[in-house]
Amino acid sequence: MSDPTTTSATTLKTIVDVGLYHSAFDELDIGTMLAGTEYDTGTITGTTSITLPYEAAAVQSCRVVSGVATVGVYQVSDSNATLSAALGANTSPGVCKIATDRKTLTFYANVTRVVVRYLPMCTSGKVTGLGSLYSPATKG
């Protein structure tokens, strides 16, 4: 028998905040989150924005491997940051920004491959992010 679910109006963030840890952490995939990951876009069509596969709890670094944008490492700043190029290829870091959706990174010029090191949330696909509705499994 499959486990039916009920959907609560409470978000995962609230559930974690109030301490209903087991099922909320299950949806958060906290082990994989805390292990961190390196995400490589592979070669993509030129764009100024890329979307991470999962929401980021924190972004450590971002590196442009190819594109019109200067190749090298970029600091990932807040959603209103002013974008800038690296000083030169693989020299001092440039600045890119992450949107309030915690997934969209924007660069000052087109990129065609990027590697991002970050802490990903909700990687199993059971929910779409920390703001998802909490859905505890119940036995039917």
Partner: protein
């Protein structure tokens, strides 16, 4: 008397599944409190090397700062990027950041020049291997302690 048994689960897997019977022990092995406290690790004066090894796996590295080096121009703060990044010194000492890389072992940081003292600010995992346990990182096997008569 207590015995231990090793599960096929890793700590990472135990946390992902959040199985009530193993979750708290997995968090205990991770030393979540120490991890979230954030740490500044100071190597002190070390032999000149282009790499430093953190005492514990890093979930996240905020910054690395070269305090002393045989190359005067390489002093200053560094962004710690992914394992394939090209290490780069700052344009000049203590100006814009340079770039260092961290290996996939989550512990080894590589700089563009040899360094003799570095301070790293990071989130350490499994940072308190006390009370007789030996946990090497989040990929280590989950080890359950069981009571036996």
């Amino acid at each position: 008397m207590s015995n231990t048994k090793t599960s096929s689960l890793t700590i990472q897997g135990a946390l992902d599944n959040a199985v009530p019977t193993v979750f708290e022990a997995a968090l205990n092995m991770l030393d979540l409190g120490t991890m979230l406290t954030n740490t500044e690790y100071d190597t002190g004066t070390v032999s000149a090397s282009a790499t430093v090894v953190l005492p514990y796996e890093a979930a996240f590295v905020q910054s690395a700062r070269v305090v002393t080096s045989g190359t005067a121009g390489s002093l200053g703060s560094y962004v710690v990027a992914d394992s394939a990044a090209t290490p780069v010194a700052p344009p000049s000492a203590s100006t814009q950041p340079g770039v260092a890389s961290i290996a996939t072992d989550r512990k080894t940081i590589t700089f563009p020049n040899t360094v003799t003292r570095v301070v790293v600010r990071y989130l350490p995992m499994c940072a308190n291997p006390s009370i007789g346990r030996s946990v090497t990182g989040i990929g280590a096997s989950y080890v359950a302690t069981t009571k036996s008569s």
